[in-house]
């Protein structure tokens, strides 16, 4: 029972992190119809920056967020302005996959070049400690990662709901042409939306670095589950992505008991293919996904 509870809690914690990362991917797709393969490469880059920050200064990796979040925001805006806005609208979605794939390769190669391919891990005073909860052992680092993800998702939600920028962003996601008609500069929105998405990658990467052993090609390990989440959740739907992230995170964690760590990961792909056969536009999403 304690094992089950522990897996359930770990699944929820993992699902929170997945939800944060999938929210970023959904933002790109929603505002620009861009499928951002490089999201997880930026995630690993943020993890490396956090590791590098802590190993050179000795300060807690969470502090590195003060640098990486604004940096990633600016990089995101620039990436949208300089690279993605050059693609022709007719083939935007397809070509964005290839272009961001190229960016992912470049980032992976650069990380390998600068930090070498050696596996890295952050050593923290609280690395080994855990708290007990009804007999279940929960690692403190996983809890911190979840709290980080929860705070960021809440902030993201408030920004989308309460600010004028959030209104413009949601309007652009719902109907780009109509948003333009009422005077929203959708190009600007797309740029900032991209920046916000990449900022979530900075937070997610730092959360990841607290707990994981990192290496340059780790992003391939992440891109599959994340892409599965946004397709299952329905491309472009943030609530759909969050729900899919939570469900898949929890099922992965629970399946680890009977199946083992590696086989449990296949749940993402099984659900993905099942979704395609039975509901090609995703289980939660709107009509967007069918066309792209």
């Amino acid at each position: 029972m304690a094992l089950f509870l522990q897996s359930l809690i770990l699944g929820i914690l993992l699902g929170g992190l997945y939800a944060l990362l999938a929210a970023g991917l959904t933002l790109y797709f929603g505002v620009m119809r861009v499928v951002m393969i490089a999201h997880s490469a930026f995630l690993i880059l943020a993890a490396y920056l956090a590791w590098w920050f802590t190993s050179t200064t000795g300060i807690d990796p969470l502090v590195s967020l003060l640098g990486t979040v604004p940096l990633f925001f600016v990089v995101g805006v620039l990436m949208q302005r300089v690279l993605l806005s050059r693609l022709r609208p007719a083939t935007l979605t397809m070509m964005s996959v290839l272009l961001t794939f190229a960016v992912a390769l470049t980032i992976e190669g650069t990380i390998g070049f600068v930090f070498t391919g050696t596996q890295r891990r952050i050593q923290l005073p609280y690395s080994g400690s855990s708290i007990e909860f009804f007999g279940a052992q929960i690692a403190v680092v996983k809890l911190i990662a979840f709290v980080l993800a929860a705070i960021s998702l809440t902030v993201l939600y408030l920004v989308l709901k309460k600010t004028r920028f959030g209104q413009a962003l949601r309007a652009t996601i719902q109907n780009k042409e109509a948003a333009e008609l009422v005077g929203i500069d959708t190009r600007k929105v797309a740029g900032y939306g991209f920046g916000v998405g990449l900022a979530t990658a900075a937070i997610g990467g730092t959360a990841l670095a607290l707990d994981a052993t990192i290496y340059p090609s780790l992003h391939w390990h992440w891109i599959g589950p994340l892409m599965a989440i946004i397709v299952v959740g329905g491309l472009g739907s943030i609530p759909g992505a969050a729900a899919a992230a939570m469900i898949l995170g929890v099922s992965q964690s629970l399946l680890q008991i009977p199946m083992g760590t590696t086989w449990a990961q296949t749940i993402f792909y099984v659900v993905l293919f099942a979704t395609l056969v039975f509901r090609p536009h995703g289980f939660f999403g709107g009509r967007l996904a069918q066309r792209f």
Binding site: V35, L87, A102, G109, I111, G112, T266, P280, Q290
Partner: protein
């Protein structure tokens, strides 16, 4: 005049293709060392993979980043058939590709239901799940320790000789694939596929069984790609999940095809020669460093941003400019327009019976010149 320039363009094309074919054929006789010879095999193998990829990518416009699934499965199918079922190697190569083609039917059925980006995502997911399965299922696949593939030629055939034989085998496979692509390109089936590429909804409304066509060409592509993967496995003699089911292999195929031009017969092969040579050069020069990833990423980015049509179509447009009567409007449409105008004029003449035929004639005349410019 146009006939003459057409002949020139045709001659240039024929000479280029024959020259390339002769170059490929005679390459082993120039006496390269075993290393260069093995690079030749690798590049021809890339050309086979890219051409196999182009059955789906070129005809339908569905860009699979996960075709490494089929090269990897092809390799493992051949190896397992030889090792576990004691099948004769060449038969195993063919059987293995058939098995992979059968496997691709349900995969295609699921993944071809979505278009564009979703399809690409699913193709990536396929490779990642196969990597997981082949790493974990070590009883059958050898897991991360890899699998040794028995050599089809006896021990009396030495290594340099092996390279030469496999070089010609790969060249033969490439020719077969090119012929198949060419045949589909000229068929009704091919026309339907290209209609799907241009506008799938319209194609469907015209009565093309789009899903069946897509699935058929998807399976053909999987079959040929698996043949290429199997042949490579027989030559290389060793399989490891990390290299077989790698996203990189699939992205090589896309890059090569895009660079050469996915709408042309020889585009992917040409792209494979360029990218394959560059890849081997980077690997030999910079060894284990991650530099080749950066180079690959930058190259792919440049191709996507600045020449999504590829080299061959760009060259074709350049050649077309040689034509003296080249205009921005296609030749046929100008001719059709003239015929149409003649018809229209006749109709107008009949209707107006000469009362204001002059204005009608001048009107249609002016519209003709207007369109022609």
């Amino acid at each position: 005049m146009r006939n003459a320039s057409d002949t020139i363009i045709r001659t240039v094309q024929v000479v280029a293709v024959l020259g390339a074919a002769l170059g490929v054929l005679l390459f082993p006789m120039t006496g390269p060392g075993p290393f260069i010879m093995s690079v030749g095999v690798v590049i021809l193998s890339y050309a086979c993979m890219a051409t196999g990829w182009n059955f789906v990518g070129g005809f339908t416009g569905y860009m699979s980043l996960g075709h490494a699934a089929y090269t990897g499965l092809g390799g493992y199918a051949v190896a397992l058939l030889i090792l576990r079922a004691d099948v004769q190697p060449w038969l195993a190569l063919f059987l293995g590709a058939l098995i992979v083609a059968a496997f691709s039917v349900p995969i295609g059925y699921a993944s071809l239901r979505v278009r564009g980006a979703s399809f690409v995502i699913v193709s990536i997911a396929l490779v990642l799940i196969l990597l997981l399965v082949f790493q974990s299922w070590s009883d059958v696949t050898g897991g991360s320790n890899g699998l040794r593939v028995p050599r089809p030629f006896g021990p009396e055939v030495l290594r340099p000789e092996q390279h030469e034989r496999f070089y010609y085998l790969h060249a033969a496979l490439l020719v077969i694939m090119l012929l198949a692509w060419w045949a589909i390109d000229r068929s009704r089936f091919g026309a339907g596929l290209k209609a799907i590429r241009e506008d799938e909804d319209k194609a469907q409304s015209l009565g093309i069984p789009t899903f069946g066509y897509k699935l058929a060409v998807f399976v053909i592509s999987a079959f040929f790609t698996a043949l290429a993967g199997g042949l490579y496995a027989l030559w290389f003699g060793f399989l490891d999940p990390i290299f077989q089911f790698s996203i990189l292999i699939g992205s090589y195929m896309v890059l090569m095809s895009l660079l050469g031009g996915i709408r042309s017969l020889f585009g992917p092969a040409l792209g494979a020669f360029i990218v394959g040579y560059a890849l081997e050069f980077f690997k030999a020069q910079y060894g284990d460093s991650q530099f080749h990833l950066v180079a690959l990423g930058l190259l792919l980015g440049i191709v996507v941003l600045f020449m999504p049509e590829g080299i061959l179509p760009t060259l074709g447009q350049l050649l077309n400019r040689l034509r003296p009567d080249a205009t921005s409007i296609r030749e046929q449409s100008a001719e059709e327009l003239a015929a149409k105008n003649a018809d229209a004029q006749k109709a107008v003449d009949q209707r107006t019976e000469g009362t204001n035929g002059l204005t009608a004639a001048s009107l249609s005349g002016s519209s003709t010149t207007g369109r022609k410019e």
